[in-house]
Amino acid sequence: MDGAASGGAVDRVGLTLLYKRLRNICDEMAFAMMRTAYSPIFSEGLDFSTLVLDRNGRLVATAGINPAMLGASLYAATWIIREVGQENFSLGDVFVHNDPYRGGSHMPEHMLVTPVYHDGELAAYVGNIAHLAEIGGMAPGSFAATATDVFQEGLRLPPTKLFDRGEPVRDVWRIMLTNHRTPDNTWGDIHAMLGSLRVGERRLADMLSERGVDGLNEAFEQIIDYAEAYMREEIRRLPDGIYTGEDCMEDDGISDRPYWIRSRIIVDGDELIFDYSRSDAQAVGPINAPYVVTLSASLNGLLYVLARDVPVNAGIVRPVRVVAPAGTITCVKLPGPCVGGQTEFQPRVMELVVGQILSQILPERASAASGNTSLNFLFGGVDPRNGEYYAHYHFEGMGWGGRAESDGNSAQIVPHANCRNTPVEIFETKWPWVHENYRLNDDSAGAGRHRGGLGIERILEVAGDVITVSALCERMKRSPWGIFGGSEGSRTNLEVSPAGSGDYRTFQEAFGLVSPSKFTNIRLHRGDRVRITSPSGGGYGDPLERDPYAVARDVELGFVGRSSARAHYGVVIDAKGDLDEEATTELRGRLADGVE
């Protein structure tokens, strides 16, 4: 604790204030990005993060927009600076970087970073990370679920100057814009990112004129120390020991086999080791994680359960070690593909940490499994309405797991992210699809004392001549698990119905695919329909212990079917729709005895 404690009263209050100011800068940067964005991924989805970094590139503060980017936020800038060499930065330089082998999470996420100077002296950096909707590669939307190496996933950029002393490096811009399928979007969204950097730079300049370069960096150090002390204190409260757990990715899009993630958490005083070295070797397909994604998952899991209010910066990682040997699914080696690691592997590991392992330590804070897939659905084509090429990266909300005190929430985005959906009206205005419905998927949640939240169902019809679709998701073979006697939630489904037919078959059946959940470049035609069903959450606790009136209410609202109420909860609803208490008591007795 002494890092933060040594300064005394004024310093402690001052520290709170300084940190609030830095967070405010990050918020302002995020606001500028959202307001000036081109793609709905930015403006509606909010799939980005904004960062203030010290003069060595260490994270000092970030806007809490998308936790999935935490690992990259902690390391990518440091790696850029180390590789480029601090002495090679100049005022007005902006670097771009999306290399998952150099601290990035996956290639669509681009980091921009720019140095901030004060009286000619390098003082700090500001940066942001954002998901560009299209970066080329083998499939529109740049989420190639059947990629077998990173070169199929789009244009890879090591740390590269986008601006040199304030002047655009045109050759680099032209390479990027030539290789992306929707260059106008790239142009606009990168400008939104640049504007956001400018906001951060200006606000940091104010702080620098107040404190000077050394003064500000000393304060940064204190904020980082404070976060470290906070985390150590939280970790110290956990009983020492080794906690193990495992879960898997159901397939990699290339072959029909699971890939296992085996995790040990070693709690050792005020330090904590996440050891993934017993996990499977890396997959052929793109479900592998770069190191920072495994780190992000581990830390996010910890933050969810332990230290929700800790300032998120370089300090939180100091008492934590993540062991993810290169060549395993937890740390992909070049040239392994990895675009799905960020969206599918990360939430799986995060939930492994939260659900299976920490539930052993703090059961009152545990929850059952969420749907736990980003449910990436990608599409592109030429819009018949204006003749222009478009591409979009779509993700879907799902049910979350039942919790100790309450049911899981319905229709929430995957746990490691906090993005928003793209509304139907925006969707249909931007791209040639028409929705038949968009609703909660009834009677699907894992039963439990507290049931899971419901997933969603979305049916959309192709309104262009041809649309090329791809998908990369999980939970089509393995259900979200229940906890403490709760039942499994329902699975993801991706189905297609040819024009004029009412029959839905999975894409796998309809097109003879290896994987039902991971495929690329399926061509659909006008009138074809797609049904996307997102998973629902697992249940928490014995369903027979659920308040029968809560079950009756679920039946009334349509969340739980009558027959499920009977079969899973032992609750009998009479003809008028009211709870039959007597019959329920009797049925529950028989179910508990295993009679029915």
Binding site: R82, I242, L334
Partner: protein
């Protein structure tokens, strides 16, 4: 047990990984020879070397520390 340069030609864009934790090695690495196996290791820094031995120590005690909840372990901190 020393810092080494990880010099690369400017046109070599490959990357290297820490033998202990898996994180990226850039510009330099910390090298040591495992006292247990005689292998030479390239890692992030001294902390990773200590982590290497700490994990071996824990695995050596695996009998005493079965999977799942293992209860209190009053052991020395790895710092």
């Amino acid at each position: 047990m020393a810092w080494n340069d990880l010099a690369k030609l400017w046109h070599d864009t490959t990357v290297d990984y820490c033998d202990v934790c898996g994180n990226l090695l850039i510009a330099r690495f910390w090298g040591f020879v495992s006292a247990a196996t005689g292998e030479s290791k390239r890692c992030c820094d001294e902390r990773c070397e200590r982590l290497y031995y700490r994990l071996r120590e824990i695995d050596g005690n695996a009998q005493a520390v079965p999977g799942g909840i293992s209860g209190d372990q009053a052991e020395a901190k790895p710092r």
